[in-house]
Symmetry: C2
C-alpha cells in the first residue's frame, strides 16, 4: 500500500543501523521489524523531546530531530507492517 | 538451556503487558520476542536510571527498580532467545 512504500523510502536512513529487513546487525540496536506502530511513534517522539537520553540515545536524537510528525507515522507504519501479510 | 528457563520464570511479571509469547496485545507496548539482548539490558537500565522518562515509561520505572543486574540479564536472554531455534 501507499503508506508502506512511502515509509520504506523514508526509512532508508534507518536501515544502516536497523538492517535492510528491520533486523539490526548490531546487538546494541533494536530490531524494528514487526514492532508495534504506536510504540515506535512514541519512541521517536521521546528521542525528539530528549525524554530518552543516555547511552546510545544521542544517536537517535539527531535522527528524530530531522523527522516531521508525518515522517514518524510513515516510518513506524512501515516497520510495524514489515514481515506481516500486508508487506511485500 | 538453564538461563532460558530461569529467565522465563523471572519474566512472568512482564507477560501481562508484553504477552505470553513476547508479542504484546497493546499497541503502546513493544513486542520483546527476539529482540536483541544487549538492547534489552540497556533499556531496562535506562528505565532504572530514569534516562527513559515521559509517557508510559513510569510503568517501567517501578518494574526495573525491582530487578537486579542478574535479573535483567536473565530476562533479556529469555526474550532475545524466544522464537529462535534455541528456545522451545
Amino acid at each position: 500500500d501507499d503508506q508502506f512504500e512511502i515509509g520504506k523510502e523514508k526509512a532508508k536512513v534507518c536501515m544502516t543501523c536497523h538492517g535492510e529487513n528491520g533486523i539490526s546487525s548490531i546487538e546494541s540496536y533494536p530490531n524494528l521489524r514487526g514492532q508495534k506502530m504506536t510504540y515506535l511513534i512514541t519512541s521517536l517522539k521521546s528521542y525528539q523531546s530528549r525524554e530518552r537520553s543516555g547511552g546510545l540515545a544521542v544517536l537517535m536524537h539527531q535522527q528524530a530531530d530531522a523527522l516531521s510528525e508525518q515522517d514518524m507515522e510513515d516510518i513506524s507504519y512501515y516497520y510495524s507492517t514489515l514481515g506481516s501479510d500486508n508487506s511485500n
